[in-house]
Symmetry: C2
Subunit: 479 residues, 2 copies
């Protein structure tokens, strides 16, 4: 342990020196992941997985409250099934892993490991949907998916990742569109309230939308370094897949109709968003709602009589209302402080002989490092307040970063200038032509992040071609 300890503490690159290296250091030193012998795939270690379990638990509850049911589909997609929707297969075929043999025998038809499961859900929906009474079907699946990426980074882009994928079928366009936007708002609310990460809600351009979708909506988050991260997407498919898969129902007037479809997903990528939004040079900073340990109890002068016992009493009390941990190992308090800072534990509770005598303790916030002196018999009131305050102030800091890093451009010169000298979002008007989107990518190295909801246009001409434009776009460099 001693050997490991030394490696852990403070041994990370400063984020200002090398943000990418800082990120890699944090995911390793905070024990979130380990690299595996399988190229491009990561091992999610207990501490990292516990964050995912908390994310799952909150989202799963919300999905169920809005009438969604979980199911489990096979992980394989036969090639002929993947091929059924032309745009979809064109988007995904280049990056799937192909299974060609079962045991020593070649398969009659090769299968890919699911990169996403629209085709499987459609194949099932065609069998179980017959009447308008069967609609809507609101299914969700928690699973892992595989996309054979060339370059990978833990949580952000790995060949296998964990996610949830909702797939729903509706009687009308209106119902499906409402579902698409409801789930986008579920994601946005989760990001803002639980992960303390402000997001831009908006619609993707056609170039950036999901393969086979009619419209893709997104929540985009801005990382500490000014790069954008697509935080979650929700797709409206119209009846394109329904036609390809023959998913029909008899409506109230006894007419045969095609179903209208949605899908929506978020993944372990969210853990990357948390790290790069809230983290600092001491390591991870976790929003309390998903922190595996919300309060860590650290006895001070623990060799003195009664200290460990008193700390354990406090710990047992805490466990009734927060996720708590106590560390009574032989490591020094200073070492422990650094360790749990690295792990981003929102609140540290220090308890020494004098505190015990006075019935008090010291609480130290991970985010601001502020020290708060509290009475032991008031912890049940005080700690939830502080945790709520940490969440609020993490959100506000992130919002400030986002504001400070959101720029505007009215001409191509301005756009290029901002892209070259600043790091963040650039808001600019766009005519809607793919040519201009490609030109902006080529000249300014910016991609369209989204066309935001509810924001006023900042001009009436396309930043690229100067023609009339009504679409406001957030442009940025993205993870």
């Amino acid at each position: 342990m001693a050997k490991d300890n030394k490696k852990l503490v403070k041994d990370i690159t400063s984020m200002d020196v090398d943000f990418a290296q800082w990120y890699t250091d944090v995911v390793k030193k905070a024990d979130l992941i380990d690299y595996s012998g399988v190229k491009g795939c990561m091992i999610i270690r207990p501490y990292g997985y516990a964050i995912w379990e908390n994310i799952q638990s909150i989202l799963d509850k919300r999905f169920k409250e809005t009438g969604h049911e979980n199911i489990y589909m096979p992980m394989f997609i036969p090639e002929s099934l993947l091929n059924k929707e032309k745009e979809h297969v064109a988007g995904f075929a280049p990056e799937v892993a192909w299974v060609t043999h079962g045991g020593s025998e070649p398969l009659a038809e090769r299968m890919c490991v699911r990169p996403t499961s629209e085709t499987l859900f459609c194949d099932h929906y065609k069998d179980i949907i017959h009447s308008y009474r069967d609609l809507p079907k609101l299914y969700n699946q928690w699973c892992s998916v595989v996309r054979w990426e060339k370059t990978t980074r833990p949580f952000l882009r790995s060949r296998e990742f964990l996610w949830q994928e909702g797939h729903t079928m509706h009687a009308t366009r209106e119902d499906a569109e409402a579902e698409t936007l409801q789930m986008l708002e579920t994601y946005a609310d989760f990001y803002e309230k639980d992960l303390a990460i402000p997001v831009v809600r908006g619609r993707k351009t056609d170039k950036e939308k999901f393969a086979g979708a009619e419209a893709t909506y997104t929540v985009e988050a801005l990382m500490h370094d000014g790069k954008a991260l697509q935080g979650g997407t929700s797709h409206y498919f119209g009846d394109g897949f329904a036609k390809a898969f023959d998913i029909k129902f008899t409506d109230k007037d006894n007419k045969i109709q095609y179903c209208h479809q949605t899908s929506w997903g978020v993944s372990t990528r969210m853990i990357g968003a948390i790290i790069m939004t809230h983290g600092d040079d001491n390591g991870l900073v976790l929003p309390p709602a998903v922190a595996p340990i919300q309060v860590v109890v650290i006895p001070v002068q623990q060799h003195k009589e009664g200290v460990i016992e008193a700390a354990e009493d406090v710990y047992n009390k805490l466990r009734e209302f927060v996720r708590a941990k106590i560390d009574v190992t032989d490591n020094s308090p200073g070492w422990k402080f650094s360790e749990y800072e690295m792990k981003g534990v929102p609140l540290r509770l220090e308890l020494g002989p004098r505190d015990i005598q006075n019935g008090t303790c010291v609480l130290v916030r991970r985010d601001t490092r502020e020290k708060i002196f509290a009475k032991l018999d008031e912890l049940e009131t005080v700690i939830p307040q502080i945790l709520a305050d940490i969440s609020r102030s993490l959100y506000e800091s992130a919002l400030e970063n986002k504001k400070a890093r959101t720029f505007t451009a009215e001409t191509m010169e301005e756009l290029i200038e901002v892209a070259n000298t600043k790091s963040g979002y650039v808001k600019a008007m766009w005519c809607g032509d793919l040519e201009c989107e490609l030109a902006i990518k080529e000249k300014a190295d910016l991609s369209s992040r989204c066309m935001p909801f509810g924001e006023e246009p900042i001009g009436d001409k396309c930043v690229c071609c100067g023609k009339p434009a009504t679409k406001l776009v957030y442009w940025g460099k993205a993870y």
Copy 2:
């Protein structure tokens, strides 16, 4: 819906006529699964998946209470990694699915989809275990695994299935053996208390043990038709994998030692065990602990004023202490009764106009069909008692079936006679030689299920060869 309804009710084969067909009918008609376009893989539908979620939730809590942590490993195993432990690869290589291409490019090394993850865990453990202070490591993973079976049946044997796999590392043989038995007992207790299924705890013969294990322990359950089902296994590996993967630690005396290892798993197979232990000719019968709906409220004469409102009041009260559902669709009460019987809902609550007037309702048990008249203001006391009683009596019935179907044999003639005329376990003494085990398989078509814990020998000679024998074995036909 009307069309579906007709298909659902009572339209199943009697279990006495054709048990296998009865099973297939139940899994389909109770909406547990659907067949998929992927041969040998099933779709676990919402009602089936909800049972699995309840199983997961109970077991996960127990694993965590005994110090286990969840992690997530890659789903792929490079061929060279699978090959590291010779017995293990020999056992699994014939039934794995091979990934050979990523996108359009052939992989440098092919990988299989995990059939089990010992090799991946070992590859990780070798990197993170250095000192006795790092031990024990108690990891668990919830995931899906793939075994390329030739013949498949829903839940019992499918090419992909969901499970948990615990993989632990210990400093000593004693610690690892204690863990192996502790987890076996966790499974046994879950089967008996929560699933209401009596099990035989025991050790597998060398022929039947897990590929690469030093000892495999099992919980065996007896199905309604007298066939045995291996319900869960727990393996002690010694330091075989540790040597193959070089997993070493420095002990307290500063000596280098190899780790001692265990693994243990249960799967969606448990749902098959529930069906075949408790089900009847009206469909599924679910033990209350894992039933997605524990009580279904069915209004009678629901067109009369106030009936639906009163039923909804009762339903809302129930939701506070049980998993409840209300059915206010237009289907007739009789149709609804059959529907929820098919789905194995443990308790039905009927409420009509006269009940409402009297402040009473009728409760009907799924298992015994007994009617219980209860006061509405006593439901919070009465219903949990009835549910506990249902669980107890399901267990008792299953235990009786097991007792009635457990036979003994002292000679080979007796063994063959029982195997040909009865259906169940046959207890017989065994010398320990593989030849006798193979001969019993050949002559009586029985496989060794386990050598049970804590049972007295029933003789001192091998049932097959007549040589001295100390091992009592449960023999049977197995799923």
